[in-house]
């Protein structure tokens, strides 16, 4: 029953696609796209385009995570630092990251460092601001408990600060993941010779319409896989949070 409910809508969508396909050169049928998908992506493109893209995404995402959580904890723990930095941070967060691509190209060239930097520059803000919020809202009674029972330094950081802020940190990481995928593609659409974004633009320019569609499909599947993976990690990390019903409060 569950499987039926899960698959019903995707099957319907493919059928609808089938029905309208063929009416236009730009809308090939699902089997055309499916064949193009297999031919295009189960080839050396997997190694030359897909893996480098995903690698840059993960590198940028991990860097943004370390930077965002690290700085977020520092800022969250210090009231003075927070008062000084918060307006500036809100400003930087408000800048749409794609407009930074030309700038970062000037500073970091057009190779992998540029692309990773673009991803970091977009992903870091939601992680940073959510971490600040989570650390700021740590429970005072728990904080007093730590002081009374001699929980301090690295132990306090690991067992209290990071765990206590983890619901907000995870929320930031979830937002950052979708931003990261968008920026991965965008960074490859500017001056690039490999990667998923580059390939899709290339197919479009060469009127390989089915191949172009298969690239979009691949991006969708990639996003879906990453979000399923993320949800699995989140369930584990935040099991206490969902169990305690705190998210409803």
């Amino acid at each position: 029953m569950r499987v039926v409910r899960l698959l019903a809508l995707p099957v319907l969508l493919v059928l609808a696609w089938w029905a309208v396909s063929g009416s236009s050169f730009y809308l090939p049928s699902p089997d055309r796209v499916g064949r193009a998908f297999a031919e295009t992506w189960f080839s050396e493109r997997l190694v030359l385009d897909v893996l480098p893209s995903v690698g840059r995404l993960l590198a940028g995402y991990v860097l943004a995570g370390l930077l965002g959580v690290g700085l977020g904890v520092l800022i969250g723990l210090s009231r003075r630092l927070r008062a000084t930095l918060e307006p500036v941070l809100e400003f930087f967060r408000a800048i749409p990251p794609p407009v930074l691509v030309p700038l970062i190209m000037l500073l970091a060239g057009i190779d992998t460092p540029m692309k990773v930097l673009v991803i970091v520059s977009g992903c870091v803000w939601p992680i940073l601001l959510n971490t600040v919020e989570g650390v700021r809202a740590l429970d005072e009674v728990l904080s007093d408990t730590c002081r009374m029972y001699g929980v301090r330094g690295a132990s306090r950081m690991r067992r209290f600060v990071l765990r206590g802020a983890s619901p907000q940190i995870m929320a930031g990481l979830r937002q950052a993941l979708s931003i990261g995928i968008i920026l991965m593609v965008i960074s490859e659409m500017f001056a690039s010779s490999s990667g998923l974004g580059f390939t899709i633009v290339l197919f479009q320019r060469q009127f390989q319409i089915a191949e172009m569609w298969s690239g979009i499909l691949l991006l969708g599947l990639l996003g879906l896989a990453l979000s399923v993976l993320f949800r699995g990690v989140e369930r584990r990390v935040l099991s206490w949070y969902y169990g305690s019903g705190a998210e409803r409060a």
């Binding site: 728990l142 002081r147 009374m148 029972y149 169990g243």
Partner: protein
């Protein structure tokens, strides 16, 4: 064991100066159980936080075993009123009790022993692998008590620990505290707003005035050492003491 001398606390913020505690002086002898009662808003929690070293005093000093308190003393444990917020929700009951022992760098064997003993003493050994939020309020407070006991403190502070549990659970927890105190002989300071509870538990009851707080009376509770929820509470002397403290507190509220 615990000496509080001329303790004062003034909260100062822009243009406002609130004298929460005027001057409080009293002592708690080694192995004694002393209750502190006072009218609501008299700074009981402020007093306790000053004694625990969580809040710097504005005047006077607190000494634990002769050592002046400047931060939380290593030989002191606290049971907070907000049991739901003083246990780590991401840790199991066992981990919550064990954490302070890890910070004390006790060897694993000794830790296991202390955790087992203290959880057995509060009747929660079965729930060791549960998370705090899976337990009722009274059980959560028992975990907090077990954590305090396992820490083997010389001084145990309790800040209205039973204010948020139902009456039946409250009676059970009061008797649990009496039993643990007798078994361990730990010096205990119990802050409460409940006059009955103070008279029932304490060997002495310190009655506080309203803010700026001073000690109104240091009352010896001359009830039989063995306390019982029904027998003790129906003694004529219990009624007298309770009435006396009640009138004192009414007077304290009147002089505000």
């Amino acid at each position: 064991m615990l000496e509080i001398s001329s303790l004062g606390k003034v909260y100062e913020s822009r243009g406002r100066r609130v004298e929460a505690i005027g001057s409080i002086t009293f002592g708690v002898g080694s192995g004694e159980l002393v209750c502190v009662v006072g009218p609501s808003g008299c700074g009981k929690t402020t007093l306790l936080r000053c004694i625990a070293g969580l809040l710097p005093a504005s005047a006077g000093e607190v000494r634990v075993a002769g050592v002046p308190v400047t931060g939380p003393p290593p030989n002191m444990a606290v049971v907070f009123q907000e049991y739901g917020r003083s246990l780590f929700p991401w840790m199991t009951v066992r981990e919550n009790v064990e954490l302070p022992l890890k910070e004390k760098r006790l060897p694993a064997g000794r830790r296991r022993e202390l955790v087992g003993e203290s959880l057995t003493a509060v009747g929660l050994i079965e729930a060791a692998e549960a998370h705090p939020w899976q337990l009722s309020g009274g059980m959560q407070q028992r975990v907090a008590i077990a954590r305090a006991v396992a820490y083997e403190p010389q001084v145990l502070l309790m800040d209205e620990p039973f204010a948020a549990v139902d009456a039946q659970t409250r009676a059970d927890l009061e008797d649990l505290i009496l039993r643990l105190w007798r078994d361990l002989g730990v010096t205990t300071l119990f802050v409460t707003h409940d006059i009955d509870e103070a008279v029932y538990l304490g060997q002495r009851v310190i009655v506080l005035s309203s803010s700026p707080t001073t000690v109104m009376e240091d009352l010896k509770i001359d009830l039989p050492a063995e306390r019982d929820q029904v027998a003790t509470r129906s003694l004529p002397r219990f009624g007298e003491l309770r009435g006396h403290v009640y009138r004192q507190i009414q007077r304290a509220r009147g002089t505000r």
